[in-house]
Amino acid sequence: MSLGERLRRSDPVRTAPIRTFSTTLRRPESPEGAEPGGATKPPGGRARDGSWSDVVAEGVDLAYRVIEEEIRLGQQAAEQLNRRSYAMGSDMVEAGERLVRYSADLWISWLEFAGSLARNADSLRNLSRPPEPEPARSADATAGATAVSIAITSPQPARVTLHLHPTAEGCSLAVRDLKAGDPGKPALTDVLFTPGAGGMMDLQIRVPQEQPPDLYAGLVVDQRTGQPVGTLSVQVGE
């Protein structure tokens, strides 16, 4: 036996049967009684007046407690999974944001390229991956797309590019500060996603008077999980 190992006494031999049946449908703190004949009174059984209403109420109450506990445990497990998958160190976050800044222009080029492909039917036919079909009818008018209404206030000319990954659908969006390619320039901080009318998201951007011209970019994340779901860039000036 190693020094670190704990000494344990073996479990004692049971000398009497376990009799916990009587707590089956009753909260632990509830009082309980025994039938005169020695039999355990079945709690949750038929009431003395012959009605079954207590059985139904207690059964449903217990079932709700069980399912709420299971859902809570499931949520905890899901949160842990999300944290494990997406919890990046600050260096990694920084590196990710830098990557986004440098690739923002590439996204614009990519979107232009995709647009030209869409206009060219022959090229589209060569794509091997079939497009996702639209539902024939939908209970939710915004289903299948994330609609964003953008309002920008800027004393200088500004161009906004928002790219959302399909996983952004249904997410509560948030955006980190938009940083310039030049680390010496101040970030754009007045950028806010809020829930809008009809299931849309509103994006408000305010560019201060003194903001130096540059391309400002940052990650769009799912507020709940912190998972990146897109990018936002604002070209100020020029």
């Binding site: 355990t40 079932a63 407690r65 859902i71 499931g74 949520q75 024939a136 209970a139 289903a143 996983t167």
Partner: protein
């Protein structure tokens, strides 16, 4: 509960969606060699006439949320195939002798071949989920695969609990433990998963799935308790399984848990001794005694009342989940399923 209105609709919808699913299943069942030792066995259970509740619930939920039937059909096929695969293994584990009115697969072909057929059917059930990429796109298809993996794990955990209880014969299994076991073993595959993936398909992923766990739990548990009741009081011809088979197997049911609490100490000891025996060691007289005690102590009526209460809770959750959706036949079917659970004989 509006039984007279819903029953024909539920039966009709089960027939329609069941038939569509069965036709689609045929496309996934291999018709090549080795037939005698594998593919004939793989096709056996799916070709027997099941209730088709699981695939029908998936299709109806998807349509109620706005999907096309074709978008949900592949997932419905996968659900039914996996259900049948698990039935093959369950029948071996439970030592059951009848399934859907005929001898179980292992009785017909022996345990090794039946296990292999069950494994193969599990793999076959993956194909329609993979092919979902072509109908609903890669993102939703992957999401459904993730849901399927979760559901399969829950089902395995539930089955392990029940088998473990039977092996170790614990006498302190209470109703809460029973409900947790049913949630995992029955509800995830029977009602929660079909509802969740149906809603995902219909709403294109934009839906909160948590409430479907509650709805599926209440419907599924009412379904399971009713199934356990039918095992005691059902008509042998229509039930399709061995009547009183659960008593022979020592399966923990709500009736048995109630009886354990209701018996006097000496009778509890007698019941415990009987439950600690293997199926082969149990005598018909012992099974008869347990059945009589259940009648005498109101255990059967007790379980029936709890099941009715859970159905009421299911209808409440239904109104929260589906109340905002436009009225449709599919919506009515889902509501009707809650009461249909009790109309099975």
């Amino acid at each position: 509960m509006n039984e007279p209105v819903t029953t024909p609709l539920v039966a009709e919808t089960l027939r329609e969606y069941g038939s569509l699913t069965r036709d689609a299943i045929a496309r996934y069942l291999p018709s090549r060699e080795p037939r005698r030792y594998l593919y004939d066995l793989v096709a056996d259970y799916p070709q027997r006439s099941g209730k088709m509740m699981r695939p029908s619930l998936c299709i109806a939920t998807a349509r109620a949320f706005g999907a096309r039937l074709d978008d949900a059909l592949g997932t419905a096929v996968a659900i039914e195939l996996l259900h049948n695969a698990l039935l093959i293994h369950d029948d071996i584990e439970d030592e059951s002798t009848e399934r859907r009115g005929r001898p179980t697969l292992h009785v017909l072909h022996g345990v090794p071949l039946a296990i292999n057929a069950g494994d193969t059917l599990t793999l076959v059930s993956l194909r329609p989920l993979i092919e979902n990429v072509n109908t609903i796109g890669p993102r939703l298809a992957f999401r459904i695969l993730e849901e399927a993996e979760h559901m399969a794990r829950e089902s395995a955990e539930g089955q392990a609990l029940e088998l473990g209880w039977r092996r170790d014969n614990p006498m302190d299994v209470d109703a809460a433990a029973y409900l947790r076991m049913v949630l995992k073993k029955t509800c995830w595959l029977a009602t929660i998963f079909p509802s969740r993936v149906g809603a995902l398909i219909g709403a294109r992923g934009r839906v909160d799935l948590e409430p479907f766990v509650r709805f599926g739990f209440f419907v599924g548990t009412a379904f399971q308790i009713q199934d356990d009741l039918l095992n005691l009081v059902g008509e042998p011809q229509r039930y399709g399984k061995e009547i009183e088979g659960d008593l022979w197997e020592g399966k923990r049911t709500l009736m048995l848990i109630h009886l354990m609490r209701a018996l006097a100490p000496d009778e509890q000891a007698r019941l415990s001794a009987m439950l600690s025996c293997s199926r082969e060691e149990r005598a018909a007289e012992q099974v008869r005694w347990v059945r009589q005690q259940m009648e005498a102590h109101g255990s059967i009526e007790y379980a029936r009342q709890v099941a009715h209460g859970l159905a009421g809770a299911a209808l409440h959750e239904y109104s929260l989940l589906y109340g905002h959706l436009p009225d449709s036949r599919d919506k009515q079917f889902i509501e009707g399923l809650v009461t249909w659970v009790f109309e099975r004989t």
